[in-house]
Subunit: 152 residues, 2 copies
């Protein structure tokens, strides 16, 4: 596993070229934003611990940490929808990672079968905060792909 | 302020049309991913509490919660780079929000003056996790815009 250095207290160092020094939160996690390398669509948001980030860098396949299952999560291991990482970006304070990926399998990332987890819009309707499904297309049948497995 | 309903324990309800029921974390926060409405570029990742989400929905201007300053943060109040929200999406389990925005002012989101906070790539170089600046263009001079203010 990669032994990441601790973040510098000097913002000038933290924000420039140099070693990747991820700023893990109190739970040891970074936020990861995942977009499609082809058209830039936002596919999902997930979290990485040092092991998941290390494996992602070393294997080129996206790994996360599942907060609900409390375990390492190789994306696509159940569904076949793995993510080949084409580029990794990091933000100014190094507490968030952006993965640009190609999705294998059904080209779907959401456990509901949709391409993106962000398949709904949110807006105020008559003063009520409301969500509306805008992407109805399911690329796979979750019941068939996951069976009785816990998907989150 | 909008009085958000508690998330349903029934995944079928949580994942379909209906009320927005944000799943705030133990600190009362949601993750917010912000992209440019025009070309889809990822601009920043931030966090929202109920007040910030409420104000964003009600005013159409992005508001966040600053974890370092422990206070509500109307984006662009110091720099002039406000974010007009064109569309809001929510993910399957309603713990992440995606804002598609038009940025006013210098068309820059990062406190370093760059368009996006994700101005560096991360990769292994000779086995070392390394970051490299790929966007050197600063749209404004941070010293001039912020003066002595805390920018994070």
């Amino acid at each position: 596993m990669i032994d990441f250095l601790a973040p510098s207290g000097d913002k000038a160092i933290l924000e420039s070229d140099g070693p990747l020094t991820p700023k893990f939160d109190a739970h040891g996690l970074l936020t990861a934003v995942v977009t499609d390398h082809g058209d830039g669509e936002l596919l999902m948001v997930a979290y990485m611990n040092a092991e998941a980030l290390s494996l992602t860098l070393e294997t080129g396949l996206a790994h996360y940490y599942s907060r609900s299952r409390k375990s390492l999560w190789k994306k696509g291991e159940s569904s076949g929808n793995m993510q080949r990482v084409k580029e990794i970006r990091v933000d100014c304070d190094q507490d968030a990672i952006w993965l640009k990926v190609d999705v294998t399998g059904h080209d779907a990332t959401c456990h509901t079968g949709r391409r993106s987890c962000f398949y709904r819009t949110a807006q105020l309707v008559d003063g009520q905060a409301t969500v509306t499904v805008t992407d109805h297309h399911k690329h796979f049948d979750p019941a068939e792909v996951y069976g009785g497995q816990d998907t989150k």
